[in-house]
Amino acid sequence: MLKIHCLGILQSKVGQAVCEVDWPQNNSIETALATLVEAHPAVASELPRCACAIGDEIVPRSYQLQAGDELVLLPPVGGG
């Protein structure tokens, strides 16, 4: 299982802050996101504008997820 942290508007679309998706190990973020959309179709329209992070690093969607990684999805930001 892969833990995906859904922040901001994604949390309200998914209904929870963290969701777990089935996920064949050592695959890319791109693949994991496709699995997330199957479980939660409401996030599909948001994902193109989201950044992906592992820990404190922004990573590209081609990033190969490793065992123990938790994926963090960051929708468009706007503090202040």
Binding site: G8, I9, S12, C52, L74, V77, G78, G79, G80
Partner: protein, 140 residues
């Protein structure tokens, strides 16, 4: 140094922290919760952050502002959690020898913080509805 806080922000502490006898100009930008947006009456705002990257991004912006504008001090602190009307969401403090670059630097600090720091605001209206404010996609 604190960059994110769930407690009310303390401007006096930030001014004390940034004291600099060589700086003649101080510019502070503060963002406060206003009671209206797009003609809707706002009751309160909830700010959330992804802290590991938000803290790192704010520290990077502080350094970038000092390098880019040659100002001696730049500190940014953002509040997270539930804020009421009039509460302060952010302070950007810049000190420099002269005022021209202090104004430029403070404006850059708030503009950049809004577009590069993973913080989100959900606006709660008097009619019971709420909306996440449109934001800027992070550069990847």
């Amino acid at each position: 140094m604190t960059t994110l806080s769930s407690q009310p922000l303390d401007l006096d502490a930030l001014l004390a922290e940034t004291e600099d006898d060589s700086a003649g100009a101080l510019v502070v930008f503060s963002g406060t919760i206003r009671n209206h947006h797009d003609n809707k009456s706002v009751e309160r705002l909830s700010y959330t952050a992804y802290e590991p990257i938000a803290k790192k991004a704010i520290a990077e912006i502080e350094q970038e502002v000092k390098d880019k504008f040659g100002v001696s001090r730049c500190r940014i602190i953002h509040r997270i959690g539930d804020l009421e009307i009039g509460d302060i969401a952010i302070h950007c403090v810049v000190r420099s020898a002269h005022r021209g670059e202090a104004f430029e630097a403070a404006k850059y600090a708030i503009d950049t913080t809004k577009s590069r720091v993973p913080i989100w605001k959900e606006e709660h209206y008097s009619d019971g509805t709420s909306v996440f404010r449109e934001g800027t996609p992070l550069k990847t």
